[in-house]
Symmetry: C2
Subunit: 313 residues, 2 copies
Amino acid sequence: MSNGIVVIALGGNAFIQKGQRGTIDEQWANVTRAMRQIADIIEKGYKVLLTHGNGPQVGNILEWMEALKDRIPPLPMDVAGAMTQGWIGYMIQQSLANELRKRGLNQNIVSVVNQVLVDGNDRAFRNPTKFVGPYYTEDEARKLMDEKGWDMKPDPRGGWRRVVASPSPIDNLEKNAIKTLLNNNFIVIASGGGGIPVVEEQGQIAGVEAVIDKDLAGELLASLVGADHFIILTDVEGAMINYGKRNMRILRRVTVDELERYYEEGHFPPGSMGPKVLAAIKFVRNGGKMAAIGHLYKALDLLEEKTGTIITR
Amino acid sequence: MSNGIVVIALGGNAFIQKGQRGTIDEQWANVTRAMRQIADIIEKGYKVLLTHGNGPQVGNILEWMEALKDRIPPLPMDVAGAMTQGWIGYMIQQSLANELRKRGLNQNIVSVVNQVLVDGNDRAFRNPTKFVGPYYTEDEARKLMDEKGWDMKPDPRGGWRRVVASPSPIDNLEKNAIKTLLNNNFIVIASGGGGIPVVEEQGQIAGVEAVIDKDLAGELLASLVGADHFIILTDVEGAMINYGKRNMRILRRVTVDELERYYEEGHFPPGSMGPKVLAAIKFVRNGGKMAAIGHLYKALDLLEEKTGTIITR
């Protein structure tokens, strides 16, 4: 009956699309549309484990907190990340259940609050690069750097912003719960926003102010649960080489060796396609059957290798 | 080995205490202290299922959203509730794990995002009584009533506030996942803030703007998982009768019949001890061995019937 475990990473366009303000009606419409694709995959007999990004949502929470910081003490990024797991997990859980109910399927779905371990000595902490939260003037930024010890840099989009590290995920702390749920035929939502980043110090766990790439955290989870397929859904048709040049082309079927060569040649931009390609490479290297990168609204076709970039051994 | 399943409902003082501003340091200190009690219970061999309130947290989120409503579209109460499940679930999950690690125990802990079903025709929707979110002037309030269709009333604490319904919980939509996790020896955190309130209409689930009482939702969950004990932790020593009168006294050991008589005589104020007493009555009536109401920092003594109000058949 089962076609194996597929881990699906949902990009930002599953929740808030470009040009939208992110009203609740827009969010429900986006999630509902995305979940039709996921339901198609479930209907084919795959065991599904979902993960998702949280960039715009955590951005909103940081802005909300900043606006009222004199009245309500703002909370750090680990807690903000946990909040987005509740927010987005709820929306996925409910809209996927509704789609399955329409089709007469009644598999149970559950989101877990999920911490992902990083190394406190990860090099990323020495060179924070991930822009987060509100935009400030240079004066405000310099004041915050003094007051809070934040790293702040000019954002190419204008203004100064806080930058945090994007360390590599090394373990998923709720992997046993996730495995137990999958083994008992639940559809699970986990590792949202790359997971809540935590470090271990003298046997104790503590949150850190960082953002783990959601595709790399998704890959770790996929490998930990022994998934067969790892599907990264985004707003483009697949990974491109020679981007912006006359010989630009989309990669259709590639071996992991081939893709790694392109990766090392610098074909994929660090902030966007880079981590997706790296996550796909890692998944296949770690024993996964197939990784794929493609468009959100072609998820089943992607899994069936009819579209997008398909990476195999 | 197992002493049975105990469902523990944590009150607000486990997270933000009276007089505190709710800084992150205060929150971690409060949760850490509360989790020592829970670890004592786990160490005695009980299977623990935790639930918690979310009043101040959801209040903060509603204030944050309101402050930036012209820039970031505010989200409804069901989503705000889901956010608090992530926030509080994370803090419990991490601090309880740290306390268990100190004791050399390594049971896994997991929070689930949890929807609780209510009846869209519940009488509570015709007479909303639960104050939520920011305070407004009467003029602002009247404008919001027109614009958004909110119910608003003068809050006895001053100013006008939104009121929402507090309907009765009728089902817990993630009960199967919670049971599976408990059966596999996980410590589970669920039904946070009374659960995310949802209704079912033509087979589809949808969030509603309401607040389910966390003790009543906790009772439902305790009964659904077949718990032996239901422990309601708060900031007083137990349920009092003749409150504020010369013959005021704390109830120590009561039968459910006795407690129901006091409840019907109006001894317990609706907003605070009333729902706790009602939840305890329901739990024992539904077949639970024992319910208890007492102080957060005496949780194990309460479970061992050495303190607080103990309710049995």
